[in-house]
């Protein structure tokens, strides 16, 4: 008997990617326009007063944060809708009745969501090069952070999709948790610029570790150490996997 249902995983991955390509223009145009807007507002309006942060041009400084902001929201919303929609329409029965393990299903769905996020991240980076000169000091680490963040938050989104019982619940986590945490996570400023106690409080915001690590891969400077960033990512991913394992084992909100 087949040990890994790679064809089943491929079928899911391919169908999910086809869905993205059906709305390819939407998928590309939206992040391009958003990025351009941020550069106009933050880069031009505010940046003209700020000039430099930690020796980096403000325009270049916000690029990693901007990428993180979009990757986080896109990962969560893509992965959550990918599993919530079949639940909503009833087509989930097919996935549950297929000879596919929970792990394989998660890898396929999360893989597709993460692929989209990485793509969008790279599109933003490309768009940014039209506005500012960008140097990436550690390109390997930049890609690694991009990939890990996309996967971790797609896993998180997948959990939200299983948990959600309505479209309202589906939307509430990205808008009430992810976006505020990202804005407060130093996407557009260095937390060094904050006064105490806000600076200390910020250290409890998980997104600070992502943005900081990602920014380090670009400019070689970050708010927290790279080790702390990596440790956080690992813990977060492990936690998500554990929750998903439990959800599939008990059938939580997946099957009665």
């Amino acid at each position: 008997m087949l040990r890994i249902n790679h064809r089943g995983m491929w079928a899911i991955y391919r169908t999910e990617m086809q869905r993205a390509f059906r709305t390819i223009w939407q998928s590309i145009v939206t992040p391009v326009i958003t990025t351009a807007l941020y550069f106009v507002v933050f880069g031009a309006a505010i940046g003209s007063h700020m000039q430099q942060v930690g020796g980096v041009d403000y325009g270049a400084f916000i690029v990693p944060g901007l990428m993180m902001l979009t990757i986080l929201t896109q990962s969560v919303s893509n992965a959550s809708i990918a599993i919530y929609f079949p639940k909503f329409t009833g087509t989930l029965f097919e996935l549950l009745s297929a000879p596919l393990s929970a792990f394989e299903a998660v890898v396929a769905y999360v893989g597709a969501a993460a692929t989209k996020s990485v793509g969008i991240g790279l599109i933003i980076l490309l768009t940014a090069t039209f506005f500012v000169r960008i140097e990436i000091l550690h390109p390997f680490w930049m890609l690694a952070f991009l990939l890990i963040t996309s996967i971790a938050f797609s896993l998180f989104g997948f959990i939200i999709g299983i948990w959600a019982k309505s479209f309202e619940q589906l939307a509430i986590i990205p808008s009430l948790v992810v976006t505020p945490l990202t804005f407060l996570g130093g996407a557009f400023y260095s937390i060094d610029m904050l006064s105490q106690p806000w600076r200390a409080i910020s250290l409890f915001n998980p997104v600070v570790y992502l943005v900081s690590g990602f920014r380090w891969s670009f400019h070689g400077v970050g708010d927290v150490s790279i080790a702390a960033s990596l440790a956080f990512m690992t813990c977060f991913m492990a936690l998500c996997l554990a929750i998903l394992w439990w959800m599939f084992r008990t059938g939580y909100r997946l099957k009665p």
Binding site: M1, G8, I12, P86, T91, F93, E94, S97, P99, P256
Partner: protein, 307 residues
């Protein structure tokens, strides 16, 4: 021969506290068409969902093709095809893509020739590039069947396949079912049209309130439980059955215009020839004679009422 499906002690209690299945034991033989009958809420869909892995059982054990559906779920599920009671499709996908997706999901290598034949058999070939959202309800149901058959299952579940389906589709569907049976596919179906079960199935299982009331060959059941009734329409109405005919359990009907004689269909000596002879001797003339068998429907109702 080892049964393709073997269910022992399966219980299901939903989170709501409702016990939908209270200990089901059932075996389905390889290659047969098995009809699962029962009133609304009997637990038919719950049982099928447990076997297919879309509902978790509270206790019990199910083997499909000898494979435990929990421990050895890959082997078990890869030979199962399921057409659920409700239509559920990715409406933005095309017919071809959704059927191909199903085959892949079940781990089978692509086989466009097989899928083409499948779509042709279900009169879907012309619609292969249409989006599901553009199809009529009956065609969506055909797509559900195509998806369930896309991976060439050995055991096919059809949960009320003909509910709300027109005559054409029903005929096509049964043609497909017969062809599958000829290929050796085992079919388990639920239906509320009992004539259908009578016509199609080899065996029936009657289930009510989460328990199996009876499992029987259709032929044996009809014989065992079936009654025949002779209706004689008289030339001249009578007020009462004459005492000379006391040997037969007769009833008068239609204001004395008809005599009804109900007897066991299985019995060798039905008593009918003797009755007719006796009527002749008594000079009771009749202008018409009719016999009918009780249908599976009547048997089913009497079973469920008795339980």
């Amino acid at each position: 021969m080892q049964p393709i499906l073997s269910i022992s002690g399966v219980e299901k209690r939903y989170d709501s506290g409702l016990t939908a299945l209270g200990g089901i034991d059932l075996e389905v033989r390889r290659g047969e068409i098995f009809a699962l009958l029962g009133p609304n809420g009997a637990g038919k869909t719950t049982l099928i969902s447990i076997i297919c892995g879309t509902v978790t059982m509270s206790s019990g054990r199910v083997l499909v093709g000898g494979h435990d559906i929990v421990r050895d779920f890959r082997a078990a599920r890869s030979i199962i095809g399921l057409v659920p009671q409700e239509i559920a499709l990715d409406i933005f996908s095309t017919v071809w893509n959704t059927v191909r997706f199903s085959r892949g999901l079940f781990g089978r290598s692509p086989d466009p020739a097989y899928l083409e034949q499948l779509l042709r058999d279900l009169s879907l070939w012309d619609k292969r590039d249409s989006k599901v959202i553009e199809l009529s309800g009956g065609m969506k149901r055909r797509v559900m069947i195509a998806k369930a058959l896309s991976h060439e299952p050995e055991l096919l579940f059809l949960d009320e396949p003909t509910a709300g389906v027109d005559v054409n589709l029903r005929r096509d569907m049964w043609a497909v079912v017969r062809r599958l049976r000829d290929k050796g596919v085992t079919i388990v179906l639920t239906t509320h049209y009992i004539e259908e079960a009578e016509e199609m199935a080899d065996r029936v299982g009657v289930i009510d309130h989460g328990r199996v009331l009876l499992v029987e060959d259709i032929a044996t059941l009809m014989e065992k439980m079936g009654k025949r009734r002779l209706t004689l329409t008289l030339q001249h109405p009578m007020a009462a059955i004459p005492a000379e005919l006391a040997a037969w359990p007769l009833e008068l009907a239609a204001d004395g215009h008809q005599i009804l004689y109900t007897f066991d269909a299985r019995a060798d000596a039905t008593g009918m020839p003797a009755l007719l002879k006796r009527l002749g001797e008594l000079g009771i003339d009749f202008k018409d004679l009719d016999t009918e068998r009780s249908s599976l429907e009547e048997i089913f109702i009497s079973l469920v009422e008795r339980a």
